[in-house]
């Protein structure tokens, strides 16, 4: 589904990603973790071409992200993305946020789009918030709207870039629950997160990144019980004892 091969990325002289290769298969949930600054967010933003890279290839459903012949907007429309800081459109209601791309990208009629948006908002537990502005919603609610916005496009896969890092602790679970449900329904997901509990519950595999490299790519069980690298062992001790 998503194949990353020998990816290199640098900003000026600073190398952010070095020779990263990984695969996410259909229906798989892959959690990406590692210390901050290790390149996790950059890696996930390369997948839908939000961040350009200079070497290597990424293909999504067999389509190359960096090829000039690729219709990047069409490719992005098939991959949902959820951001750390939600990035809901502040001048629109929750419903309008969810409907916007359906209308302008998928060319659904407004009525059709709104009907779909209402269904999805209800599914993330926000059926009664359709007319609220983002500023009137809590962080957890905003993030659920932004998940709804991505789901409304009927994506083939979902990318999550630290979806709970900007949330107050008591709101983290409401977002994780929605994500967990998605995973159980068979959605292909790549999730950058520090929530190791979430990884333990739903991940199939864990990618551990350090200083721009994928140090470890292992099935979940093995990652938590017997990580191969010293660096991952340290990381786990640090996050799990807190």
């Amino acid at each position: 589904m998503i194949v990353i091969d020998d990816l290199h990325k640098s900003y000026g002289h600073q190398q952010i990603l070095r020779a990263c290769s990984a695969t996410v298969n259909l229906g798989e949930v892959v959690v990406v973790c590692g210390p901050s600054g290790s390149g996790k967010s950059t890696l996930i933003k390369c997948i839908n071409g939000l961040v350009p890279f200079e070497r290597g290839t990424i293909t999504v459903d067999g389509v190359s992200v960096s090829s000039p012949k690729t219709d990047l907007p069409a490719l992005r429309a098939r991959i949902g993305m959820v951001f750390q800081s939600f990035e809901l459109y502040p001048h629109m209601t929750a419903l309008q946020n969810v409907s916007l791309a359906q209308i302008h990208v998928l060319k659904r009629s407004r009525a059709e789009a709104d009907a779909r948006s209402e269904k999805i908002l209800a599914r993330v537990g926000l059926g009664d918030k359709r007319d609220s502005r983002p500023s009137q919603l809590s962080g957890g609610q905003q993030q659920r709207v932004s998940i709804a916005r991505a789901l409304a496009m009927d994506p083939r896969a979902m990318l999550f870039d630290e979806p709970t890092s900007a949330l107050d602790p008591e709101m983290i679970n409401e977002v994780l629950e929605v994500m967990q449900e998605l995973a159980l329904e068979g959605m292909t997901m790549m999730v950058v997160t520090h929530e190791m509990g979430f990884a333990q519950r739903v991940a199939d595999r864990v990618l551990f990144m350090d200083r721009g490299q994928i140090v470890e790519d292992t099935p979940k069980a093995q990652f938590f019980t017997a990580p191969a690298s010293e660096r991952a062992r340290q990381f786990l001790t640090n996050v799990l004892t807190h």
Binding site: R76, I79, E87, Y89, H91, V105, A150
Partner: protein
Amino acid sequence: MSDFDWGIIARSSAFLAEGMALSALLVLVATVGGLILGFGLALMRLSSHRWLSVPASTYVTVMRTLPLVLVLFWFYFLVPLAIGRPVGSLTSALLAFVLFEAAFYCEIVRAGISNVRHGQSDAGLATGLRRAQVLRLIILPQALRAMMPLILNQIVIVFQDTSLVYVVSLHDFLTAASVVASRDGRATEMYALVAVVYLVICLGTTKAAEFYRKGLPS
């Protein structure tokens, strides 16, 4: 010297109204034309292509360092030379105002667009929207709200600047009033009227800008 003759205002009202009409026309054309051109310049300045951003920023820098009077003169003398026939004071003044104000509106539009969080455009692009759609549907509506007070402020400045068109022998409101003042020897009355009119219009617009700013949800 208590013999003020306020009747002079009524008697010269037609002439003063003509001046005010010219001022209003200049403000309207300079604002609409300046905003359209300034919007294009702002997009050029924000572009990552240097062949677009460098000419635009050079234009803006040059225009902003020149006094408006000089630009008015320039166009009055240069436009006829460039196109080979006289164009008249009004056309050259309108052109000068639009091209001059475009530089200022460019900076207002650019600030408005830059103020919108970068993540907003990422979010739009990630759903498959094209760049032009992201700009139109997501960035501009937010930028415009931030720009409104600045635009109103600039309109006040343009209105005050219209008085400079006397250098190409056009009669804006202030010039019309000073013509009457010196013709009939009623300087006190006329300049008092001018002060009150400018005060009311500019204060009103500034208050509107403030009101708008306060009414915005943060």
